[in-house]
Every structure is written in C-alpha cells, then in structure tokens.
C-alpha cells in the first residue's frame, strides 16, 4: 500500500524480538558485497595474468580500479575501500616482481600503490556520496508522497474524530502496534484519549498521565531516544500549531532504541500533519459558529421586528376601538358599534393566530416538536381548517374538491390543520377580496396532495422557493401585513412529516400551494373488508 513506505520508517519502533530477527538478517545482507568483490578481483587477476604479455603492468593496475568504482556505486564507501585494498594486494602479489610475494623490489611501485589507493579512495568516496544522495532523495520523495497522500486522505474528512481515527488506524495497522492521540477534553480540560487503534486497550498509568501533561504543556517530546524520561516505555510527541499545544501522540517503542534522523523527521512530519488537520477543522468549526451566531442574531432581530409589528397592529386596532366605545358610548349607533366590536374580535383572532404560529415555530426550531401522528381523514382536516378559515374570513368564498375515495394518512391532525389554515389565510391575504379560494385533495399510490389555489398575482418564479424562507416577504407585498412566518412554518411542519410543499402557478394566473404527504400502507382496507363481511 501507498503508505507502507512511509510507515516502514517506524519499523524500528517495533518490539525487540522483531529487531533481533532483523539484525541477523541484516548481517548476512552486509556480507554479500564483499563476496562479490572477492569474486570480481579474482576474475580480474586471472584475466590480467592472461594479458600480462601483451599489456604493460600500468594498464593492468587500471583494471583493478573497476571493482572499486562498481563497489562504490553499488554498495558505498566501505566495500569500495575493501575493493581498493584487496585490489592493490592482489596486484602486488600476482604481478609486481617478485611475483607470488608481497615484497616489492622497485621502490617506484610503492609510489604507484599510494597513488592507486588515493585515486581509489577519492573516486570511491565521491561515488558513495553520490549514491547516498540519490538514495536519500528517493527516500525523501517517497516519504513526501506518502505524507502527501495521508494528508490528502485526512483533508477530505470534516470531523475531527474521523481525522484522528484515520491517522491512528493508518499508522498503527502498518507498524502492528497501538498508537494513540490524546487531546484536552472533558470538564477540566485534562488530556484524554481522543483516538486509539481499533480494538486496542490503551491505558495510561498515573505516571504516564503526568508525562503526557508535561509533554503537552512544554511542547517537548519525552520517552526513549529523547532527552527527557528516557526510561519510559512509550514515546510521547507533542502536536502543536506553533503557538498553542493541540494534542499528544503516544507511540510504543523499544526502550533501548534511539531514533534516527529520518525517523525524527517522519515523526515531526506526522505531528505537523496532525496539528494541521486539527487546526483546520477547529478553525472551520469556529467559522461555522460565528456564522451561526450572526445568522441567529439576524433571525433574532427579524423575529423581534415581526413580533412587535404583528402584535402591535391588532393591538392598535383593538385599543382604538375599545377606547372609542368606552369614552363615548352614546356616539355610536348599533351598526357602528357592531363594526367596532368586529374590529376588536378580528384583532384578537389575528393575535391568537400569530401566537399559535410563533409557538409552532419555536417548537419546530428547538426540535421539541413531537408529531402526534394518527390515522387521519384528510377530508376531516380540510373540514376543520375551512371551518376556522370561515370564522376568520366570513366574506370569503371557499370551494372544496375531494375525491369519493381517499386513503387515510398518518399525520398530526392539528399541525396539518395549522398548515392548511396558514395556506388559506395566505391565499386570502394576497388575492382580491371577492375572489374565491379553492382547496383540492388528490391521492396516488404513494402520496396524498392538497392544493390551495388563489386568484392573486402569481409569485415570480425566482421567489417561489424563497417565500418559504423565514421572514422572507415579497417586495411587491410590503403593504400586506404579515410576519413572513406562516409559510416557513408550513414548510417546517410538512417536512417534519416527511412531505414536501411548493408553490406553482397553473396557467399563469393565481398561485397554487401544494403540499404532498407520503402515504403509508393503509390499514383500513382490512377494516373495510371486515365491515363488508359482517355487513347488513
């Protein structure tokens, strides 16, 4: 897997038994280059002997540079040095007179040997360094890629817990040991386990709890291989964003091992990655919070405006009528008295409807709205809503169209009734007073729809969704009093029932508000059958 490379760098953190096995395997791996070198030099010596008559000794000694270069490039400095030494010894023994002896007659050869060794050393060192650099670059690239992929993976997460779990799971499955992330939490903001490898029991003793706290506060690591608390059996790495501490990583480790520089780097990278991910999410959360606060502030103001306006308007008409009647009762005849009293009654009814809507909205908003679902006859609900609407709007004409057969629907009677009343009232508000409002009910296999159609000016298409937003009111309707609550409550109630509500304009005149409620399996069919069997 992609992260194995990155993760394998933590392999030294595994248990002792694993390390012991690895060491003996590594020892045998170390010997292989030297066997190759010996073989190579043997081949050169044999072929050099064959060429001795045709070539000068100066040429033959150059052949011995080959294994040095190859060893340097393939295996690094030490094998290359070994190759140069073995090469010069072979040359001395097999070629320099007296042959088959390490003795050298001509002192000039000693100078040649020294130069050969120097050349071998310099080329070997250079080649080895080149090789190490290439290796390092490759390693770095792989690690970067692995870190990038891990960061990519957690960048997609939107939940802190999920990020931590991903990090912990990814790292710990690969190293086969439990790692944990500790973060401040709870009432006293003490460091608590935020994420741990799946299924593992990660328990910190009292001493470790103190270490964790220290690591968190001082933003310094502790545990084996660090300058602090070398004897602990877990390694604790602080996670911070440069200013404040965020969390602590806890890794199991063998107590005798000192971390290499790469491992250090990888741990640092992991810690930074964790810090980055957590900070990112915390910032996003804060931004969300701020947005929410601003939003609720706005709603609050809108609500206050609506409440004061919607309560004051009917209150004004009531107060006006009542004070008129009280101060000069004789000035009014029976007819004008009745008109004033009707004003009072309507004002009171309006306030009552507004309070009902406010309460419904508060219940919807706070989530305490419990649906008292019962099997209901929609015809029944329409009937009750119409009765109320007629009392409210005695001069309006209403028409109803309901099919003969209608399935029962499981809803909260009074809430759906409230939806219908709001729709009827809304229709009456935004259409000519002498026009009629039509209610029709229809049902399919899966849903039941109720449409309320008025003869008002059609709502512009762009606004048809927005009129269900809280406090949203059409620009063209400023003169009509209203809070902009009614339709949003309708939407809230209908959606709480798993239904939909929308506005349409059929044939371009008037507005139709349609609410659709899902139908459940209807238990009445069986009831009807029983009745028929037992019937007359």
């Amino acid at each position: 897997m992609w992260y194995n490379e990155f993760i394998s760098r933590f392999a030294v953190l595994k248990t002792d038994s694993y390390n012991r096995g690895a060491r003996s395997r590594r020892l045998s791996l170390l010997l292989i280059p030297y066997i190759w070198i010996i073989g190579f030099i043997a081949v050169i010596t044999v072929s050099g002997k064959a060429l001795e008559r045709t070539f000068d000794l100066v040429n033959i000694v150059l052949l011995y540079l080959l294994p040095v270069l190859i060893a340097a490039v393939r295996w690094g400095l030490w094998p290359s040095l070994a190759a140069s030494l073995l090469g010069i010894l072979s040359f001395d023994f097999f070629f320099v007179p007296p042959v088959m002896s390490f003795t050298v007659h001509d002192v000039h050869y000693l100078l040649s040997f020294a130069i050969f060794l120097l050349v071998a050393f310099v080329t070997g060192t250079l080649a080895a360094r080149l090789r190490a650099q290439a290796h390092e670059a490759e390693q770095r690239e792989r690690r970067t890629a692995a870190l990038y992929l891990l960061s990519h993976k957690i960048a997609a997460e939107t939940d802190i817990q999920q990020v931590l779990t991903t990090i912990v799971d990814t790292v710990s499955t690969s190293i086969g040991a439990d790692i944990a992330i500790l973060m401040p939490g709870g009432t006293n903001e003490s460091l608590q386990l935020a994420a741990v490898s799946r299924g593992s029991k990660f328990v910190l003793d009292e001493k470790e709890q103190a270490i964790v706290q220290w690591v968190f506060e001082h933003r310094q690591e502790a545990g084996p291989g660090t300058s602090t608390l070398d004897e602990a059996n877990r390694l604790f790495v602080p996670v911070h964003d440069g200013e404040r501490p965020i969390a602590v990583l806890a890794l199991p480790t063998s107590s005798r091992h000192t971390l290499s520089r790469e491992q250090r780097d990888d741990l640092d990278a992991l810690a930074s990655l964790t810090a980055l991910a957590i900070t990112r999410l915390q910032l996003a959360e804060e931004a969300e919070q701020v947005k929410w606060l601003a939003e609720s502030e706005k709603l609050h103001t809108a609500l206050l405006n609506a409440v004061s306006h919607d309560l004051r308007t009917p209150l004004s008409s009531i107060t006006g009528a009542v004070t008129g009647l009280l101060s000069e009762p004789d000035r009014y005849n029976a007819e004008t008295k009745k008109a004033l009293l009707t004003t009072i009654k309507e004002g009171a009814q309006r306030m009552n409807r507004f309070v009902t809507n406010l309460l419904d909205m508060a219940r919807l908003e706070s989530g305490i709205l419990k649906l008292n679902r019962e099997w209901c006859d929609m015809l029944d609900i329409v009937g009750v809503a119409l009765k109320e609407a007629r009392e409210m709007l005695p001069d309006r004409r209403f028409s109803v169209q309901v099919p003969e057969e209608l399935p029962m629907v499981r809803v909260d009677f009074t809430l759906i009734e409230q939806v219908l009343i709001n729709l009827l009232e809304n229709g009456a508000k935004y259409s000519p007073p002498d026009s009629s409002i039509a209610v029709s009910v229809a049902a399919t296999e899966t849903e039941l729809t109720v449409s309320v159609t008025d003869q008002g000016t059609p709502v512009p298409e762009n606004d048809r969704d927005r009129i269900f937003d809280k406090f949203y009111r059409l620009r063209s309707a400023r003169h009509v009093s209203g809070s902009g609550l009614g339709l949003s409550i309708c939407k809230g109630i209908v959606e709480a029932h798993g239904g939909r509500i929308w506005a349409a304009s059929r044939s371009g005149t008037g507005n139709t508000f349609i609410l659709s409620l899902p139908l459940e399996a209807d238990p009445d069919k069986t009831v009807t059958t029983i009745e028929e069997n037992h019937g007359e």
Binding site: L379, G383, K387, V400, V402, E404, E531
Partner: protein
C-alpha cells in the same frame, strides 16, 4: 332562560378571566362563585354546591387533573375544562378522568354558553327514549332505523352504533377512546384509524357536504361532537 339561576363555580387563577366570566355569566343570569386555586375550588365545591364547574387546567397549586379526580370521588357535577391548543393530551386526560367538556383558550362567549347549557341540561339521553329527533335527522332506536329528511338511509351496524352513541351524547364532546370503547369494546382503545374510516363513511351518508359536516364535527386531536341546532 331555561338555565337561569343555575350555580356555576369558576376555578381559575387568572384574575382577568375570572372577572370576564363573572360579568358575562352573571349577565346571563347565572349565580357565580370563584376560586383562585385547586384546593380552594374543592372547598368551594362542597360549600357552594354548584350545578356546574368551570376549571382551568393550568392551575398553580394542584394539577387540574387531580382536581377532577378528587371532585369525582363524591360529586357528579358537570365539569367544563379550559385548556390551550397545544395540550391535546391534557384535554383527553381530563375528559377521561371525568370532565364533561372542554374549551380551548381563547374561546368565544357563544361557545362557552352553548357548552354550559348542554352540560347543565345533562341531556345524556338514554336508550329508554326510543326516538332521537334532530333537524332533518331521526334515529329510531327501537327499530334501528335512521331517517334523513324523512327517508330511510342504510347504515352498516358499526356506522349505526357510532351515530347512536354520538346522538345520545349530542352537544357534548366524545373522545376517540370513549367512542371506541362503546362501539368496539375495550380492546380497541388505540385504533383511531377505525374511527376515521367509519366516521368518514357515516358523514358521506348523512352529511350534505362531508367537507363541511353539519352533524358530526371533529374536535381536533380529541374526538367528535354531535352538533345540535341549539
């Protein structure tokens, strides 16, 4: 006025409501006593011997339900409760505990007076009365015949039983539970969908416009009421 002189006890802790009821009901010739709390109300009930009790369910000291229960331990005086829209379960609880009827605040004086008249008249008609007559609708209990505008209509046995029970309690609210118990028996308590179906069928047979019923009206969340042209 038929009910003139009847004694009404109002138990409500809100001054304005009590004052309003006092003025309006006195003007209709009723004799009034008032109590500000449940305990005082129970005391008053034993001293004043009212013909009817109007009880607000939202009292401070005693649960309205508790007042009904204690009152019913020794008295069959009709009780009308006052409640708010949001508390349907309270209304049902109070009706099941023995209250006779309810009004949702805010209510109109006309409604209250109608409820008072029905409750005091104690019209619980009995089956001894062989014929129940309403405008355009007649139930002949002895012969199990229903006449609508003089013509016999055919009802299934269940529809007939529902109509009979509602008509016997005409003018008063009948909860879903009461109706289910009376027609189907005690094992069908929660089965309101039975009721919805049969009441729907019944309305289609006896109502000129089932969407605007004249006889059987729905009391949202509570039950039904057989309306008399009172």
């Amino acid at each position: 006025m038929a009910s003139e002189g009847a004694r009404i006890l109002v138990i409500d802790d809100e001054n304005e409501i009590r004052r309003m009821l006092h003025v309006a009901l006195s003007a209709h010739g009723y004799d009034l006593a008032e109590a500000l709390s449940g305990k005082e109300g129970l005391n008053q009930a034993s001293i004043f011997h009212p013909d009817l009790v109007i009880l607000d369910l939202g009292l401070q000291d005693l649960d309205g339900m508790e007042v009904i229960r204690r009152l019913r331990e020794w008295s069959q005086v009709p009780i009308i409760i006052l409640s708010v829209r949001e508390r349907e379960s309270d209304k049902i609880g109070a009706l099941d505990a023995g209250a006779d009827d309810y009004l949702t605040k805010p209510f109109s004086m006309g409604e209250l007076l109608a409820r008072i008249r029905v409750a005091i008249r104690h019209v619980a008609k009995t089956e001894d009365e062989p014929v129940l007559s309403f405008p355009d609708l007649t139930l002949d209990l002895a012969r199990r015949i229903v006449l609508l505008k003089g013509e016999e209509i055919r009802l299934t046995p269940t529809e007939y039983e529902i109509l009979k029970y509602l008509a016997l309690h005409s003018g008063r609210v009948v909860t879903h539970g009461q109706l289910l118990r009376a027609v189907w028996g005690p094992n069908y308590q929660g089965e309101t969908h039975y009721l919805r179906v049969y009441v729907g069928q019944l309305r289609r047979k006896i109502e000129a416009d089932p969407a605007q019923p004249r006889y059987i009206t729905t009391e949202p969340g509570v039950g039904y009421r057989f309306v008399t042209a009172d």
